[in-house]
Subunit: 349 residues, 3 copies
Amino acid sequence: MKFTVSEIAQMLDGIIVGDEKVTIDSAAKIEEGRPGCISFLANSKYESYIYTTQSSAVIVNRDFTPKKDIAATLIYVDNAYSAFTILLEEYQKRIANIKQGVEQPSFIGDNSTVGVNGYRGAFSYIGKNCKIGDRVKIYPGAYLGDNVILGNDCCIHPGVRIYDNTVIGNNCNVFANTVIGSDGFGFAPQPDGSYKTIPQLGNVVLEDDVSIGANTTIDCATMGSTIIRKGAKVDNLVQIAHNVEVGSNTVIAAQSGVSGSTQIGERCVIAGQVGIVGHIFIANNTKIGAQSGLGKSIKKEGLSLSGSPARDLNEHLRTMAATRRLPEMEQRLKELELKRETSVIQERD
Amino acid sequence: MKFTVSEIAQMLDGIIVGDEKVTIDSAAKIEEGRPGCISFLANSKYESYIYTTQSSAVIVNRDFTPKKDIAATLIYVDNAYSAFTILLEEYQKRIANIKQGVEQPSFIGDNSTVGVNGYRGAFSYIGKNCKIGDRVKIYPGAYLGDNVILGNDCCIHPGVRIYDNTVIGNNCNVFANTVIGSDGFGFAPQPDGSYKTIPQLGNVVLEDDVSIGANTTIDCATMGSTIIRKGAKVDNLVQIAHNVEVGSNTVIAAQSGVSGSTQIGERCVIAGQVGIVGHIFIANNTKIGAQSGLGKSIKKEGLSLSGSPARDLNEHLRTMAATRRLPEMEQRLKELELKRETSVIQERD
Amino acid sequence: MKFTVSEIAQMLDGIIVGDEKVTIDSAAKIEEGRPGCISFLANSKYESYIYTTQSSAVIVNRDFTPKKDIAATLIYVDNAYSAFTILLEEYQKRIANIKQGVEQPSFIGDNSTVGVNGYRGAFSYIGKNCKIGDRVKIYPGAYLGDNVILGNDCCIHPGVRIYDNTVIGNNCNVFANTVIGSDGFGFAPQPDGSYKTIPQLGNVVLEDDVSIGANTTIDCATMGSTIIRKGAKVDNLVQIAHNVEVGSNTVIAAQSGVSGSTQIGERCVIAGQVGIVGHIFIANNTKIGAQSGLGKSIKKEGLSLSGSPARDLNEHLRTMAATRRLPEMEQRLKELELKRETSVIQERD
């Protein structure tokens, strides 16, 4: 997608200095710009780059006064950083809206309905009795089972697998190859040492404004629902087990795992590669550091935790520091013992 | 799928008290019931819920005597809990059996044979020379390469990728987007610092009654087979490297990884996010705690291990407890040194 | 695919002793051989197996003199081990070359071009304006978005998802269900506690000779490119975040994760389940042990690191050893304190 500088200036209510007919097809940091790119200069620390950038246009603050010649076209605005952000969002919105219509072959089961202005890619599959909202994009090779409900403005990326009975709100993104609603890991041990599968009959519910990364797995509940609440953001390769509840606006980074029936509060921040045991409760605003292992409920709100087993961040840091001194401590202990021996022997003498 | 209460009562050999024409389309815990759900009451601890539940029907023990009015229809049976389990299994079996036949477009290569009463979803792909058993379900978008053998009653979920020459027994489940048989990670370092790919020519074998979760990866052997033995259960996002053997009825929880050529015994329980190095042997009935890292063979059966590096669970817990006291120990050590100093100085005086 | 022993001998410049018409369709270790397999004997430690092996043929060194009767046909070569490797590579090359042509249905968008002698499986999807090189294999169900560039001799396995604008060099392998170019995990916190999505407009670049395992995720850059340099090898279930750079010939094992904007040098070896924080720099030839957590830049080349937080391997091992002795150290500390108490009391007496 291409814009002229004058279209961009109009969008941002900016004033152009330089060639207004230059076309822009990408964005870049000012130090990494190439012809066709637009960049911004907000922090004077980066000013030197504006005199050498290969970008075709640069958004600058109204009070910017060049000290040398600049090859790029300049667009003067009130706030260069937020103008650039607005531009990126507008660009992404337009890109996203290019996809419309239905590519063939694609599959839709009996009794399923699809709203207006959406996109269904080739090899996408929609089962029976599904209700799909307006402006929903279902990319090539995505799969929706039977009885799936999808709100408006959702984007289901290529290869996503959504099992029967899943309910997804408005404005949700699910990235490529993520699996939503496969069986929880439940097996009953039998007297002969084998396992019997426990039927997993519940579903998964994603509320509005949820984003789920790529290659993540969210298991259906044994009964009832595994729930991801409004505004929660889940990264790539995350495991959410059966009957888990993730609170509103909680963020879970890549490769973390949450075991069955655990309830995570609102606005929590869970870093990467964290493990959380099952059947616990985590209070609102809890922060858990990368690679931590949380083994028990957190009842007080707003704590920062780290370590495996996870505990108060400051205690953890203190202990980690002491652990690094451990070989030296052991030496000091040995010396004390020796001195003690010596003085006891001297006393005896 | 809907049942009437009288159909259910007949299935469970139960006696109905209340409206026998009520229809049931889902199951729920008694405290989470909604109209259309069936629940059970086995433990008197939960009795209070039966007077307020929104569920349309509740399965109860024969000796249950209500203390107040109950809106739901009751089904009296010998053992409410096991009756409920039987009902769920029956429900799941019927749900599963709905899928039959072949949806189009789907692909099947030359010389491949498929048994009776199966299901092949749209966009499913079967390569050449495959032998697929009876009552096998291959969901939309699943892929089987060439020369794949699949036993009876298997279920291959949407988007599963099964590479050439894989052999799968009877009654196996492979959940969505799991990859079976991709290349083991083998590269030979070259004098110039680059790597040369080592051909991976073996396959993967799953014996009977194996269940593999979603987004898991099981690599093919370099030569010979990577083997998952009868009844083993593997969760989501697990990595099984080339030439690994997982013993019968062993359970591996989510996000664990097993490195190349390691042999895991029977009836082991490996918790989540465990890492196991390559080329080791793990005896039968070994238990490994979450986030552990196992670096050497375990020759004695029945041990419980934890930590990274993993060792005896009790020792690990003792050490973890001592570690938490480390900053305080350091303080005590310092005090002893000071006192020692002081007393030496006093002695000198 | 089948070969006669005489074809193989010709390929390896070997001399046959035994039946030269035997056909070979697989390879095996000498101790695991079955009829139809070829094996090798290079190390005299394994000599006993050659008298009992079920393999139909065995490649041996020119100086090998049997001590008993051997059922298998022998092929004498200069170096049995390297001859066997050459054979495996030749076998794999021929196997790989079987796949050619276009299976239907498959999808290709406007303005996309595909080179010669390639393969496109059924249900594969190529978007608009893509440029695909020669001899490229795109397996069933793989997806390429718009504007994707793929060099020569690449292999895109089943179910791989490659987002818009990705650039891939020559001779790259991407294994099943891996996702390349999905959105980086970037959200700006808002005053009301919710998050706003930060547009991710960059792309992913894989240089030549890169191999990416199965179910791995590589996010696109916010702006600019996430880059995997020439010859790098990435295993299964790995997470590479936005704007990361992985250096040439660096190896990353399964289930490791690299956070945003981190730069990894050349010829590094990163073991399994490692976590690396964002915005750091890792010098060339760094080795990081399994399950380590790296939290800061490594400026010196060639270091070996381990632990979480990761530090010098030897220091880490020393500390781990001391930690194991911690409960005993605590006991010794207590005894010293007691003796001190006693001696102080005695002195007072």
